[in-house]
């Protein structure tokens, strides 16, 4: 008995003194990352931010993406997907712009988004059930940093051609496998628009009539859940190409549009590589 009490006491003391980190300086000094070696293929990160113009906490999430882009530049790609319950995304006299899209709804429904703001970071941790793939914006920095430090398995090159007279865009995609794959790969090509001035409900419950909406999903030129890019098995060094053609809607400002291309593993849904290019360089 005495031995057991001693043993128990030691466990208690160990747990008590070892398991609490008191942080005196919460902010990391330096902050920015060192320049990336240009010869190394960087695994770029996509944050799909499910948002709504009547969602008061959603600007926090948008701000988090901007913070990350300040540090990581174009290695972090944000996509604002306006989809969710109508009390967050619906239109009325105060919030007249309809940002919702059929493609956004397809993605929203597939990944079962339960609340706004909510996001996915390169669609990691998707299991087909549960919510592990859904990440609140406070978790985006750590996950993004981890993914940026990971080894890229795909090298992705994209070329965008835009014919202004017909508002036609042609996207040529070339994906090089950097490892062997036993899963199929899919490709998604989307067009985003930034610089849209339209009202947004703010965290203090006020309406910001001049809010600037960035990287808003306008349309997927592929299917929303992607087109087939390569069937397994895929060997290291294999290059798979695809040409996607789309039309830029007359209502979108072409100068403010970007094309986002990403390749994902069709079994895990994880986005392996991404690129973002201006529609008009």
């Amino acid at each position: 008995m005495k031995t057991f009490i001693k043993f128990f006491s030691i466990i208690i003391l160990l747990v008590s003194f070892a398991a609490c980190d008191v942080i005196d300086n919460p902010l990391k000094e330096g902050g920015t990352r060192p320049p990336v070696d240009s010869t190394v293929v960087v695994r770029k990160v996509i944050i799909e931010d499910f948002t709504g113009h009547r969602c008061k906490n959603c600007p926090y999430a948008a701000e988090k993406i901007h913070e990350l882009q300040d540090v990581y530049g174009k290695n972090v790609i944000g996509i604002a997907i306006h989809e969710g319950p109508s009390n967050f995304t619906g239109t009325n006299a105060d919030y007249p712009t309809d940002f919702t899209t059929d493609d956004g709804k397809t993605i929203y429904d597939f990944f079962k988004i339960p609340a706004l703001p909510m996001g996915m970071v390169s669609r990691i941790d998707y299991t087909g059930t549960g919510t592990s793939h859904l990440k609140t914006y406070s978790g985006w920095p750590a996950i993004s940093a981890g993914l940026l430090d990971s080894v890229a398995h795909i090298k992705l090159e994209a070329l965008v051609g835009y014919e202004s007279s017909t508002r036609t865009v042609t996207v040529d995609v070339a994906a090089t496998a950097l490892i062997d794959f036993s899963d199929d790969l899919k490709v998604v090509v989307m067009i985003l628009e930034s610089g849209i001035v339209s009202p947004q409900l703010m965290p203090d419950d006020t309406r910001n009539a001049n809010y600037i909406h960035q990287h808003v999903l306008r349309k997927a030129f592929t299917q929303a859940m992607g087109d087939e890019l390569a069937l397994s098995p895929i060997l290291t060094g294999a290059i798979h190409t695809k040409q996607i053609i789309g039309t830029v809607d007359a209502a979108w400002v072409a100068d403010n549009c970007d094309i986002v291309v990403f390749v994902y593993n069709d079994r895990t849904k994880e986005i392996l590589q991404a690129e973002q290019l201006a529609l008009i360089p």
Binding site: K28, K112, T129, A142
Partner: protein, 561 residues
Amino acid sequence: MKKLLPLISFLLLTSAAFAQETKANYGELHGNFQFDGQYYLRDTKIDSTGEFYPDERFLGQGYANLIYSNGNFRAGIRYENYQNVMLGFPQGYKGEGITYRYIQWSKDGLDITAGNFYEQFGSGMALRAYEERRLGYDNMFDGVRLIYSPLKGLKLKGIIGKQRIYFQKSPGIVRAIDATFTLNDLFKGMGNSATQYSFGGSFVSKFQTANDPFLNLPQNVGLGALRFDIVGKKWGLNAEYVSKANDPSADNHDIFRKGQALLVNMTYTTKGFGALIALKRVDNMSFRSDRNASTIEGLINYVPATTKVHTYALPSLYPYATQLNGEMGGQAEFNINVPRGSAVGGKYGADITLNYAISTSIYKEYYDKTDTLNTIKYGYQTEWFKIGQVPYFQDFNVKWNQKMNKNFTMTFTYFNIQYNQSVLEDGLGDEPQIANPSASKMVYVNTGVAEFLTKIKPKHYLRTELQAQFTKQDRGNMAMILLEYSISPHWFFTIQDIYNYGNPDEDLKIHYPLGSIIYSTGTTRFQVSYGRQQRGIFCVGGVCRVVPPSNGVSISITSTF
């Protein structure tokens, strides 16, 4: 099924092994089963765009528990299925599988649980793993628990494990210990005392890896708690104080402020009179095993509500949900039994209940946002005894229950509720409401309920409810009538209608009818219902979920053995 078979085999083998040891004692096997399903009907009145109308049309979910016990040995499993999740329940549950399995035995005074378990330390403010199926809440542990009593009057608990989040686990690991000292058992001289004294303490720590590029996040976060409980013949007093180290999270917008909470409960009962007073102050006490989790996911602790949960349909539309980021308030309730034969009590006497509860924010002075370091370290400054600037909730209700004769009892209840819709539904923080008090959308509600219970003839009862709710805000005035006819012990018939005649939207001045039939036989119960359900918030113990509007036919089956 592939997962289920090995587990059943394991249980049978285990039972056989123990049966041998106990000489043909095969132990006991118990179980229970529940299934709920609803066929949804498209109803353009309550859902004009069809956004809540499920593609599946029929949604069903259920579970079955199987528990085997033999002497000091227990083992159990639970199978759950959500195919698919019913409206209003967390979508993360979509799927099916074994969610709960454990073995437990006691040997030499040591109680060991391996696998899944539920646990609570003290009031729960330090640690509480529990299940509330009606909310879709389940934060059980998967790990190991040891319970040991080295001497009479001292109970030690130690746990380590990960928490359930739907069909997955939280990324954080929870380690916790708890000690409870019962002084009347520890000291012989106190053994015969009419007053029972006990005190205890807990330490809980969570670990989650951190890789944030901007913040030095703590990977280990500790929480300590102290409590006491004194129970006399007529009165009782218990309190618990909890303090938590820096725990930046999605809940508190990544501030490194320490958390603390105090809960005090006092009770007094004597013949014909009972009183309860509860006081609470909570500051930054969200404590989750995943710092990025939200809603009901990964909560390690539980902050009890100090407001009354109403069961009548109309006042329950405005419930209170505990605010983990900070709240202060309390509750006082007095139960008075008016003696029979008195002028007020009449021939059979009467019961009167008075209840008052209030909750506000804690007092906060926010740092200027340009003061980045203090903002992120502390978030705000506060004073313990200063009343918070933002009203959250206030509820005064009085209930009069009077038996008129052997066959007729009536109950009248009045509710006066003040409900901060911005906080309790929209999630608006304190800061904008302190800066601009008019940002708080307050709903002022007056509700009256008359309830009559009539014994028609032996085994036949009729219960009638008449409810009227008045408010100039939110959905406006409503009226309700309910008739329940029961034929004991098998049949139960209910019909009710809520009419939202005062809705400011003309299209929503509609009826919400509901009818149900219940049949019970032995330990099995069948229920069939049809009705239109309005948008609402369903709460249990201060934890709430939003219920979307729906229309359809529901079935429910429960059975135990």
